[in-house]
């Protein structure tokens, strides 16, 4: 998969962009607030149809304009395809080769992307919702069907919560208990499949970049008990049982207290919760290891590396870890978009075919002078 050309119109603070990214590294250099991250967000949105940062779709449209467009020409399995997405009036519309994409699967055929932003570095110390979103992004990259499955769960959950708030009769709530259990079991199975693949890779990646004590990657399914079953059917039964058991409590509170929406990704160091005990540096090493594992995992599953988006991560990592990340990126031969305030930080990921872009006040221009002397 290769992003051959990228066109952006009125997305965030970007007015009009038309670039041909390098097959390897493309480096975007600019001071803060100029539009570096907007460029990465545009690519992420193009590849996933979801905003990279939690914000409303309408916020993606450049201030004072009506419609944002991101279009990319990709080479996928030897064929050239153009996919694009428009946002207008708070709605998004996806196109494949100029035609409206009827199904999301048409759209996602073969596009995978792994993003790494400074926000990710806060995952270890943040709340469970941050870790769930972090985990779900990885699941989605690996299993595109997860987008629909996750939506189905959200819908079932919202429906049940509405019934709880409206004090609906038990027979009605029970019907949605089963819907929540069924769709929830699917979400749990997907998350576990991903963790089974990714966990060991993440552990060894962290070991390679740090001297951290035994790293653990696990999953806490809230209120399902320590020995809940592992099959999808078993999980569905366990969820259903917990939902029924907690119905009175849930009714009092007006929301559902058990299910994948309440679970947590468990990261441990030497058997202790990384959230409580890890230092900031240790936490970052954990996330870095996870992201490297994600790249390797997508490559192992699809036979090709994902498109990488690294948003100014280098300035947040210490020089040694940054060097490791840059080395991994260069080794992976993946197509990568990096943003930075300081070109020298990402020099090791750059090569002779690197495209150097300067971003200033929402305008992007090619600028080979950005290339640090030692890679020239």
């Amino acid at each position: 998969m290769l992003l051959e050309q990228l066109q952006i119109a009125d997305f965030r603070n970007l007015h009009a962009v038309n670039v041909r990214p390098s097959p390897h590294a493309t480096v975007v250099v600019g001071a803060n607030g100029q539009g570096k991250t907007s460029l990465l967000e545009a690519v992420y949105f193009l590849c996933t149809l979801r905003p990279l940062r939690a914000n409303r779709l309408s916020e993606l449209v450049r201030f004072g304009t009506e419609q944002a467009t991101v279009a990319g020409r990709f080479t996928l399995g030897g064929a050239e395809r153009e996919i694009s997405v428009q946002v207008a009036a708070g709605l998004r519309q996806a196109f494949v080769d100029g035609k409206k994409a009827a199904k999301l699967e048409d759209y996602f055929g073969g596009v995978s992307v792994v993003a790494f932003t400074p926000d990710d570095l806060a995952v270890v110390k943040g709340g469970p919702e941050v870790r769930r979103a972090f985990l779900d992004r990885a699941v989605f990259n690996r299993f595109p069907a997860y987008l629909r499955e996750h939506r189905a769960y959200q819908r079932a959950l919202k429906s049940r919560n509405r019934l709880l708030k409206e004090h609906a009769p038990a027979s009605y709530v029970e019907a949605y208990d089963e819907a929540v259990a069924r769709t929830g079991a699917r979400v749990l199975v997907r998350r576990r499949e991903l963790l089974d693949e990714l966990g060991p890779r993440a552990v060894s990646a962290v070991r390679a970049i740090s001297q951290l004590p035994d790293v653990g990657v696990g999953y806490t399914a809230l209120h399902l008990g320590a020995h809940h079953p592992q099959t999808e059917e078993g999980l569905e039964q366990a969820l259903l049982h917990a939902l029924v058991e907690r119905l009175d409590r849930d009714r009092d509170r007006g929301f559902t207290s058990v299910g994948p929406h309440a679970d947590d990704l468990q990261l441990t160091l030497g058997g202790r919760s990384a959230r409580a005990y890890a230092s900031q540096g240790q936490g970052r090493a954990l996330v870095l290891g996870w992201k490297i594992a994600e790249i390797e995992n997508v490559r192992a599953a699809f036979g090709r590396p994902p498109l990488l988006l690294l948003d100014d991560v280098s300035s947040e990592l210490d020089p040694e870890r940054n060097a490791f990340l840059m080395h991994t990126v260069a080794e992976s031969r993946a197509q990568v978009l990096l943003t930075t305030t300081d070109a020298s930080l990402v020099a090791r990921a750059a090569g002779p075919d690197t495209l150097w872009l300067r971003v200033e006040a929402g305008e992007i221009s090619e600028d080979a002078r950005l290339r640090p002397a030692r890679t020239a």
Binding site: K103, E105, P144, A145, R148, E149, A152, R155, A156, K158, S159, R160, R162, L163, E166, A168, S171, Y172, E174, A175, Y176, E178, A179, R182, T183, E232
Partner: protein
């Protein structure tokens, strides 16, 4: 400026689902150019559909009289009843010519997010229908989405205690369809529900 009557027709036509302003205009011009009879017949057909077609008092599909053709046909099997969301689903099933039982149209699904509860659907009427004990099996043919599934489960819980066999349409790959055209969720489900050969 186009004449007002034409504008009014275009406005009315463009309210139809799937009809945009442009198509509405084309349809309006077509009607305008067609022989006078056509417009007269169209008007008559429109009025008739509103005045004569109503819901069957038993199964709530469409009929001209009290009961519909599906309910009055003596060749149909009284022991099997198929519950569908809407009339379009009934028509799709009927096209297969495979189903010889009776129907019951719910006119929607349970959807808390849209404020549709059991009392907005024809569920009470279904229960009344089943009281005579003639029906042995109810096939729940609601859509396989969240609301359709929840509605099926709701019905199952109501009907099972009445000693009625409740079944659900199978899910999986479309017949004669290529694997490559199946969407991923369907494919994933078909894969997890695979069978020994």
């Amino acid at each position: 400026m186009t004449p007002d009557p034409l504008n009014r027709l275009v406005a009315q036509l463009s309210k139809l689902p799937g009809i945009g302003e442009k198509t509405a205009q084309r349809l309006a011009f077509h009607i305008l150019r067609a022989p006078d009879d056509y417009a007269t017949e169209l008007v008559a057909a429109l009025q008739e559909v509103k005045s004569k077609v109503r819901l069957c008092t038993r199964c709530f599909s469409l009929t001209e009289g009290q009961l519909c053709g599906f309910c009055t046909d003596p060749r149909r099997d009284d022991r099997v009843l198929c519950v569908v969301e809407g009339i379009a689903d009934l028509m799709a099933l009927e096209k297969t010519r495979e189903f010889k039982g009776r129907y019951h149209v719910l006119h929607g699904v349970l959807s808390p997010l849209e404020g549709i509860g059991p009392e907005q659907l024809r569920i009470q009427e279904l229960l009344v229908r089943l009281e005579d004990g003639k029906v042995e099996e109810v096939i729940v043919a609601t859509n396989p989405d969240v609301e359709g599934e929840a509605t099926a489960l709701y019905l199952m819980r109501l009907l099972k205690p009445m000693g009625i066999r409740v079944t659900r349409l199978a899910q999986g790959l479309p017949m004669g369809g290529d694997l490559e055209f199946a969407d991923q969720a369907t494919l994933a489900r078909a894969l997890s529900g695979r069978r020994e050969l």
